[in-house]
Structures are given as structure tokens and as C-alpha cells.
Amino acid sequence: MVPLHHYLILGAILFSLGVFGALTRRNAIAILMSIELMLNAVNLTFVAFARYLPQTQLQGQAFAVFVITVAAAEAAVGLAIVLGLYRNFRTVNVDEINLMKW
């Protein structure tokens, strides 16, 4: 059996990669992809805990289901916002969208 901390370390690596991507990418869609990566890493951690701490078995999996739902809603709204941005600015690079900066 694979020890629990293997899964937790894998989740940590995926989450850190997602954080790095969300902070550095210029393309707004790439930022959304990094956020999906982070949500996925959290789900992985939830399911690992659900498997290894059986008194939490259903809580962990049910919470992962809710996280997936929220991720789907977030992707839909985020991409609609990106399309709106592109329509107004003709770009999706977030560092070129500086209307409210001075």
C-alpha cells in the first residue's frame, strides 16, 4: 500500500506548480488553467485523506464532488469574463489590461 504522505506530497507539488503558474502567466486562460490545477491538487489531497482515514471516507469524497462542481462553475464564468475582456481590449494578456491602474 502506498503511504499517505506520498499522495500529500504529490498534491503539494501540483498545488505549488499551480500557484507559480497563476502568478506568472500572462495569458488569462493560462491563469485559469493554473487555478484548475490547484483545485485538482486539493481534490487529490481530500481523496487521499478519505481513503486513509476511514471515519472520514464519505466526507472527503463528498467534498471533492462539491469542489469539482465549483470548479466547473468557476471555469464557465471565468471564460465568459475572458471573452468579454477580449472583445473590449483585443488582448487576453493580463499585464496589458491596466485601465484601472495609474
Partner: protein, 162 residues
């Protein structure tokens, strides 16, 4: 090394490689395809964790839904000769932040792994999960369906041409 451990290492290496391509890749379409591979790797790890329903949901919603949506948005927005620079000015700072987060999380994980019970998992998690979603978690279940409805209406209104 048991077979399970070997499979885990294979899946983990595959997932991390795909995630690294998502984060560091120059081509946005290639990053989206790598995201599909990363999600599939995580689905395999769910199977290893005996969460069969979640593995199916992962493939259906993430691979079949969200990634296709992302690819649509990429094709609608990216110019052919887009900028070659994919990272912004704060790449070094973000790298330090990401590495620091990884070290912190790794330290916390290795320091405080809770006591693992060796009790076997539920024989089939899907019926139990379905029952729990409609009894114990009925209220969050309804709330999340309202959230989905609101997100759908909001996405339509935001993306509509007027």
C-alpha cells in the same frame, strides 16, 4: 517495491510532468492538451485510491468539459502571432513564492501525517456517496445546484454580444 507503489510513481511522474508543461509551456494550445494529460493522471490516482466514482467524474467533467471549454476560449481569443513572452515581470518572485510554498507544505506534511488506520475502505463507494449526497449533504447539494444555475446564467449574460 510493490506493484501499487510502482504504478503510483509512474502516475505521479506523468501528472507532474504534464502539470509542468501546463505552467511553463510556451504554446497555449499545447498547455491545454497537457492539462488533459494531467487530469487523466489524477483520475488514475483516484482509481488507485479506490474512489471509482470520482475518477469517472474527473474524466467526464474535467477532461470532457472544462478542457474543451478552455480550448474553445483559446481558439476564440488567441492571435496567431501572439506575444512570445509567456511570463510576466514577476517570474523570479513567483518562483521563490512557489518554491517556498512547496517547502512549507512538504515540511507540514512530513511533520504532521495523522495516524493512518489500516481498516479496509468501503467495498463500493458510489452507492454510499449517492446516499450521503441526498441525505446528509442534501442542503449543500441544493446550494451547489443553485450556484451552478447562477453561474450558467451569469456566463451567458457576460459572453452575450449586445
Amino acid at each position: 517495491m510493490t506493484v501499487q507503489l510502482a504504478i503510483f510513481y509512474l502516475l505521479a511522474a506523468f501528472t507532474v510532468w504534464a502539470a509542468a508543461v501546463v505552467v511553463l509551456g510556451k504554446n497555449i494550445v499545447r498547455a491545454a492538451v497537457a492539462l488533459i494529460f494531467s487530469f487523466c493522471g489524477v483520475a488514475g490516482i483516484y482509481i488507485l485510491l479506490e474512489a471509482d466514482f470520482l475518477a469517472a467524474v474527473q474524466v467526464l467533467i474535467y477532461v470532457g468539459g472544462i478542457t474543451i471549454l478552455l480550448l474553445f476560449a483559446i481558439m476564440l481569443t488567441s492571435r496567431i502571432a501572439g506575444g512570445v513572452r509567456v511570463v510576466n515581470d514577476q517570474a523570479v518572485l513567483s518562483g521563490i513564492a512557489g518554491a517556498g510554498l512547496l517547502v512549507g507544505l512538504g515540511y507540514a506534511v512530513l511533520k504532521g501525517v495523522p495516524a493512518v488506520s489500516s481498516a479496509p475502505p468501503l467495498p463500493q463507494s458510489t452507492p454510499f456517496l449517492g446516499k450521503a449526497l441526498l441525505t446528509t449533504y442534501a442542503l449543500p447539494f441544493e446550494a451547489v445546484s443553485i450556484l451552478l444555475l447562477a453561474a450558467m446564467v451569469g456566463a451567458i449574460i457576460l459572453a452575450r454580444k449586445d
